[in-house]
């Protein structure tokens, strides 16, 4: 399936864009998506943490993604 992944903060600098279209296997899990992202952009492995938000919520590594989800790369947050 084809998914759109949004990026913020340093993730935007790493992919050099605000969003990324990716071809992934159907029913991919978050952990597998992270692995695929790290393969495409090894700089992700240097971060203190890497989370994926789905529809504006944190989800665990085993969460299964679908095409209609809003998927966002969350590098380590630093608000406040």
């Amino acid at each position: 399936m084809k998914i759109q992944v949004l990026a913020f903060g340093i993730a935007k600098d790493i992919i050099k864009d605000r969003a990324l279209e990716m071809e992934v296997k159907d029913g991919i899990s978050i952990v597998a998506l992270k692995a695929q992202l790290c393969e495409l952009y090894p700089d992700f492995e240097q971060l203190r943490s890497l989370n994926i938000a789905v529809n504006a919520d944190y989800q665990n590594d085993d969460f299964i993604l679908s095409e209609k989800d809003e998927i966002v790369i969350l590098p380590p947050v630093s608000g406040g």
């Binding site: 913020f8 340093i10 971060l47 938000a53 504006a56 966002v72 947050v77 630093s78 608000g79 406040g80």
Partner: protein
């Protein structure tokens, strides 16, 4: 009652104070986070804050709800800034009103600690000689 704001304009402590003012509450605790002029001795020129807005607002709401439940807070306000901030500008304000003061301090400290861990907002420090996304790397 809860007041969550994420905006690219000047944050006003008085707005938060007015919101949490409440005849049932004997005390309110505020935290005001401002842009410091240096990081580890290195002069900061300005900060840029970026937020994943819908999720930032919903995570701030979660914190406010937790604060209300855990500390019987009457009212909670969390305001966070986005965009470009100069030295001394206010980045975040948290205000909590509780019937007793000890709870107000604990709740306010919990709120800012949790905000820094969970709310999807990122800040970039701009120095004379470059820029750094804060806390991105170990």
């Amino acid at each position: 009652m809860i007041d969550i704001q994420l905006k690219d304009q000047t944050l006003l402590p008085q707005d938060c104070i007015d919101f949490v003012a409440c005849p049932k509450a004997g005390g309110s605790s505020l935290f005001i986070g401002t842009v410091r002029d240096n990081t580890k001795g290195k002069q900061v020129l300005r900060l840029e804050f970026e937020a994943y807005a819908p999720m930032a607002v919903s995570e701030m709401k979660k914190i406010a709800i937790q604060v209300k439940e855990k500390w019987q807070a009457e009212k909670v306000a969390i305001h966070h800034r986005t965009g470009t901030l100069a030295i001394g500008d206010i980045a975040v304000i948290i205000a909590v009103a509780t019937p007793h003061r000890k709870a107000a301090f604990e709740a306010c400290a919990f709120a800012i600690d949790t905000l820094k861990e969970t709310v999807p907002i990122w800040k970039k420090e701009i120095f004379e000689d470059g820029e750094v996304w804060v806390a991105a790397h170990p």
